[in-house]
Amino acid sequence: MSHYDATHHTRGTSRYVGDLPEPEGLCHAAIVPSPLAHGKLVRLDSAAALALPEVIAVITAGDIPGENQIGPLIQDEELLASETVHFSGQPLAIVVAETPELARRAAGMIRPEIVLLPIITDPREAFDRGEIIGATRQFVLGNVESAWAACDVVVEGRCDIGGQEHVYLETQGARALPGEGDAIKLYSSTQSPYVVQRSVAKVLGVPYHLIEVDVKRIGGGFGGKEDQATPWACLAALACRLTGRPVELILSRHDDLLMTGKRHAYSSDFKIGLDKTGKILAYAVRHYQNAGASADLSPAILERTLFHSTNAYYIPNVHIFAASCRTNIPPATAFRGFGGPQGMFVIESAIAKAAEALGIPREEIQRRNLIREGQEFPYGQQAERARAEATWEKADALYDLAAIHRKIEQYNRDHYETKKGLAVMPICFGISFTATFMNQGSALVHIYTDGSVSISTGAVEMGQGISSKLANITARTLGIGESRIKVESTNTTRIANMSPSAASATTDLCGGAAIRACEEILARLRRLAARELQLGDETAITIENEQVRYQGQATGWSWRKLVETAYFSRISLSAHAFYATPNIYFDKQKEKGRPFNYHVYGTAILEATVDCLRGTYDIDAVKIVHDLGRPLNAVVDLGQIEGGLAQGLGWMTVEDLQFDHTGKLLAGALANYKLPEVYFMPEDLQVNFLENDDNPNAPYGSKAVGEPPLLYGLGVFFALRNAARAFRPGKTLSFHAPMTPERLLLELYGDQMPPDERQSAEGNGKTRQPFPDTSTKEKA
């Protein structure tokens, strides 16, 4: 089963926003970004730009007919800055011109006058100054304070986790076409057509139904187009409305890097207590999320950090604190994993430090504390069909952990300047939007009289293969061949109020709705066939391989005959259906509930070799056992696992996203933001599925696949760290990700640098007592 779009992709005939045929009179917009990260906008002189021939308009905040507000959760984000700028790259104005080159040139001639205000880039500093977005959150299970005393070892530590640039290869963009009256049709590279629709309507001050958003596919999203596709669509629509002409706004790569939000950097403090056998008795953690200049989706992302702060482990006493901290960098946003990976990195770091204190391998603690059936997550949900241990055991059986250990120890005895390291990475990821109301999906199915089928849903194809899965689900439910199915673009006039394609949940929600729509039509068709063929029991009618069967026997009617008969009998061949995930809820007052429909589990074993003189390294092997229920399309799912893994590995190693202390992005081009390339991935990559009982909570027993595989990538940090430890066993190593070759050298030799250089290399983080009430004891 190949990718639904494979033929078009390989022919170059797949259309992305910028590939659509150009309408008559199409003009182009470019953005004027703020050059400073925080300040009062005093003046914006656009006269020189407007004087250029073929410049059509310069649009600023004052020109917005509706509300100058696009914050999705909290109303704290202007579309165009009116009085204050909050990050470097924030849009101040747009220029509309006859060509994109001219628009960009004119935008460069607009010089804003800004009075600088104090700039904060560090989330801890923002927290101390009270720059907190929304409420701080706490999840509590048991009582950590009374548990510390019972622990044989208690360690504390700090993690600093970098952000990550999405680098969807198709940059952000939208095209807006004027319709009749105030109507506008948009083509947008968004994961969230409904959010674009409602934001555009708000900015233009028109009802939602005047705004139509259509998405055929997008050239990668990874969360970066969940919410942050919205401003560009709003600006294109605004320019379209004000000029009356079709307007295209496609960000250059530089602008995209500069202006859009990335994965959140976190700084966290942890404290973990264990008995001497390695059982974790208590875990306390404080997360400081670097949210950037406005809320965007940060509070929701923070929530998932809380949900996943204990990863795949059961810990009886837990206290998780998390704060979303406002800083002067671009608003950080969704990125595959949605805050979960940061929470998991910290518990994995805590376990690493505890293992060092106890003098036992990290994986002994991991294995001993895996969550089991019926045990409780800190948010009150019990583990159902828990497969943490099953994936671990299968990985051990398939890949032989002890043998890998022996091999690595032998290698490290035989080699001086290169060392190998091993890490096991168990994962557990909850499936559902954590905002319960978003767990809804719709599908619209039309069957035409030739037997061909059109399906529309709220799902956006971004490479993840949702079209392949929808075609498969539809064909399978109807009992016909996949070649009869056409998966339509995602369009707000066909599907209303759709949730974004995000949270790994799209197949579950939209696929669930597709099954219901097909079943609704099938019920009509069965009734018809029972009547026409005089069959007593309509529930015994099935369609298999496009043939109508009764009690398993052929009736002589084909799919085509059935459909034609229905048409002439005036029976509807269309259905719209709705799916809402049952039995999920969460009480934010108590911070308890059952937020997830189910969990995805898995275990990876990672091996790396470090050149301890140069800091360079190779990821030698990643061996995975992944819990996938019954895969709908194993080829597509495997692609998601490999691609997600690559992003996770990249985040932990080479993808070094940095802002300087003035809030300026240090990587304004792909030439200086390193991505995993073709040599990066391990030569030995093995993925096995944990064959398991049907998952009753998703289409045909499948499980969601989009985000969880990224989490395996976290393991590489600990494999590299273990290799470094083998080279310098006594050296204290930090938990500072990504582990770039530079960072690795600093970890190995930082203590040999002169103090002033060391301080500038390591940053001058203030010392603080994160858990002041209790003392820390370290005894092995």
């Binding site: 170059g12 259309r15 990874f222 030439a671």
Partner: protein, 164 residues
């Protein structure tokens, strides 16, 4: 702004001769996409890092975002659309077929550039080793796949091309 003088460019693209008046700074990638409406050539980074805009210039794989349209004057270009010259009704080229079969693509944005990188490579290396394949692809970025299936697709294509 002064308008730059226009230059006449005659270029053969996918076997067809085109003549256009263009600004000297117009990139070949923009020329192909906007003047000739050959939008299969994608632009990902605009400075020669990602490889999405790769086309053949006189049979050699080049980044069309690093070449001016006027530099292609009098020369021969093949874009991804040229792999199936009838505009997409005929069977896929074996390389295209291999990427489909081996699921060597996801969002598809990098795919045309990768295919065009591989066309001359496979002509020169009918039996490529995995190392040679990786070297050939070292100038193309894909954010979706993790590259494994892309390498597999090239191996599959090489095999098909060898056995006709």
């Amino acid at each position: 702004m002064e308008n730059a003088p226009l230059f006449s460019v005659k270029v053969t693209v996918n076997g067809q001769l085109f003549e256009r008046e263009v600004e000297p700074r117009l990139l070949l990638s923009d020329f192909l996409r906007h003047e000739l409406a050959l939008t299969g050539t994608h632009v990902g980074c605009e400075h020669g890092v990602c490889g999405a805009c790769t086309v053949l210039l006189n049979g050699e794989a080049v980044r069309s975002c690093l070449i001016f349209a006027v530099q292609a004057h009098g020369q021969e270009i093949v874009t991804v659309e040229g792999l199936t010259p009838d505009g997409g009704r005929e069977a896929l080229h074996p390389l295209q077929e291999a990427f489909r079969e081996a699921h060597g693509l996801q969002c598809g944005f990098c795919t045309p550039g990768i295919l065009m990188t591989l066309i001359p490579f496979l002509q020169e290396h009918p039996q490529p080793s995995e190392g040679e394949i990786r070297e050939a692809l070292s100038g193309n970025l894909c954010r979706c796949t993790g590259y494994h299936n892309i390498v597999k697709a090239v191996q599959l294509a090489a095999e098909t091309l060898r056995h006709g």
